[in-house]
Symmetry: C2
Subunit: 307 residues, 2 copies
């Protein structure tokens, strides 16, 4: 559907351009694709987190828009590039369905702004969390999502930003995303048929799906991101209960291999919403994240598939 | 796949036989198909609940096996029949996957006992909650489910008890059911290909599924039960946060019409796991349940599709 995977991505925004020629960070051993989604360490300012990533050898970062209030996108992009990091994605646009046409229009406007922010930051991917169900009309909400993405796609394309439709776990269908399976995200991307529209595979959201293997293969070259965390038992909290990789039931390495086999070569974001984890020291979180990433996601030295 | 829907069901067990000729309860207006799943009022003894149903004009009841400890199945079945009620299902068998062969054998033995209890109680349906994931092996767990149902199917058939595979919401995939979609339950029923195996459609578990309409149609005449409750926002609790019909986002009447259109004519169980609801007086819970059932599930007088 789209051309090219994420292997040779070049940051599209102005911040990356102003930083052209700056020396990239040397990643920690085996951490070449590792990205910290800043939700994992929420509550800290972006400069502190960027600095910690650089010291930990984590070469990618995925900021959230809320962090661009304290540090506007252009400055944030420069700080990230100055540290030798690259932006894997900006979180997040979306939330298209609403009960009134005015509200839907306002949300589209906010998404256009998010695209500008992504471009300025130096992110070529904007993650879309598509939005929930107004008025018990699930099919109507899905149509509003399709209409919303269609409305912002030209601006995304013009800005060199790709829109990553992220299917969310069905437990978020009511209030966060009526797009709940990778199959549905793939179908939506196919329907929009634009090089600026793809999908995000987040292990936590999709691991349970009996059709996952086929849909990862079908996502192939329009996969714009791969996110990891773990599903722990019992689930501590609906919103804030994700686990560190290795603490739960998901076969992350198996899923990562499927995503790779389909052609994805881009960064792998660690996005863990978990209060107890956020309360730990930043350096400790990053060290654990890197260790678990090597143990449960990346291929180890004994793995013959390591290329 | 199987012969016959649920419209003309005859209770299979001995309790029903001993009660032959007893006069059935006259249902409340519009409540002909309404069944109380006793999880909704958990913590009460079965005799108290049976009595309350009879007074409220609720003609069906679905006990849980844990209630058959205090009141063994034969006596429970007589008490239900004496009150003029019928059993819509017994909850629950299942939980087939386990790390060791011994444990899997023990679970199959427990399911054989559950089939006996269903037959003795006078229930022709045993609900199966299939079980979670041991050792991060989701595909292996699904195979253990298929093997487990295949192992108990001959005994179910011999006892006149049908096994209802209930897909659970994907948020329960890790610890309660690796069968998460109606599509998967249908495929499993097709694979087992027995008149004693069908599926249960529970609105709370499947409402979010983009393929729901097709799968309800495909379930057609092997649908053995339809359960209702509601998905409320924000979700109060993973296990105990279901809502009363009408308090959430699910289009229950729309789903009920689809299930009916596919050929289901059996009872409609109200199964609401919610602590606050359980704490209310029993009569009040049943009155609210009946009122909401009429308002949001059954067809009202103004509905031209009412036959």
């Amino acid at each position: 559907m789209t051309s090219g995977g994420r292997g040779s991505r070049t940051p599209a925004g102005s911040a990356a351009r102003t930083s052209a020629g700056r020396r990239p960070l040397t990643p920690g051993p085996g951490l070449e694709r590792l990205s910290l989604n800043t939700a994992t360490v929420r509550g800290r300012g972006l400069p502190e987190v960027v600095d910690a990533c650089a010291r930990a050898g984590v070469p990618w970062i995925a900021p959230w828009r809320e962090q661009l209030v304290a540090l506007p996108a252009a400055r944030a992009g420069r700080a990230i590039a100055d540290a030798g990091l690259r932006v894997s994605s900006l979180c997040r646009g979306g939330f298209f369905p609403a009960a009134s046409a005015d509200e839907r229009r306002a949300r589209i406007d906010d998404n256009l702004l998010a695209i500008d922010e992504a471009a300025t930051l130096g992110s070529d991917v904007l993650v879309l969390v598509c939005g929930g169900v107004p008025n018990r009309d699930l099919e109507g909400a899905r149509q509003m999502v399709a209409d919303g993405i269609a409305a912002i796609e030209p601006h995304a394309r013009a800005c060199g930003v790709r829109l990553g439709i992220e299917p969310l776990h069905p437990m978020f269908a009511a209030d966060r995303s009526v797009i709940t399976t990778l199959g549905e995200a793939n179908a939506l991307a196919a329907r929009l048929d634009s090089p600026a529209v793809g999908v995000i595979v987040d292990a936590y959201h999709v691991w349970w799906d009996p059709r996952l293997r086929e849909e990862i293969a079908a996502a192939a070259r329009h996969t714009l991101g791969f996110h990891v965390s773990d599903w722990i038992v019992p689930l501590p909290d609906v919103l804030d209960g994700r686990g560190m990789m290795g603490d739960g039931v998901i076969d992350l390495r198996g899923m990562r291999r499927q995503v790779d086999a389909a052609g994805y070569r881009g960064p792998i974001e660690v996005e863990i919403f978990n209060r107890a984890l956020r309360d730990r020291p930043l350096e400790e979180v990053l060290a654990t994240m890197a260790e678990r990433y090597r143990e449960t996601v990346a291929d180890d030295a004994a793995d013959p598939s390591r290329g």
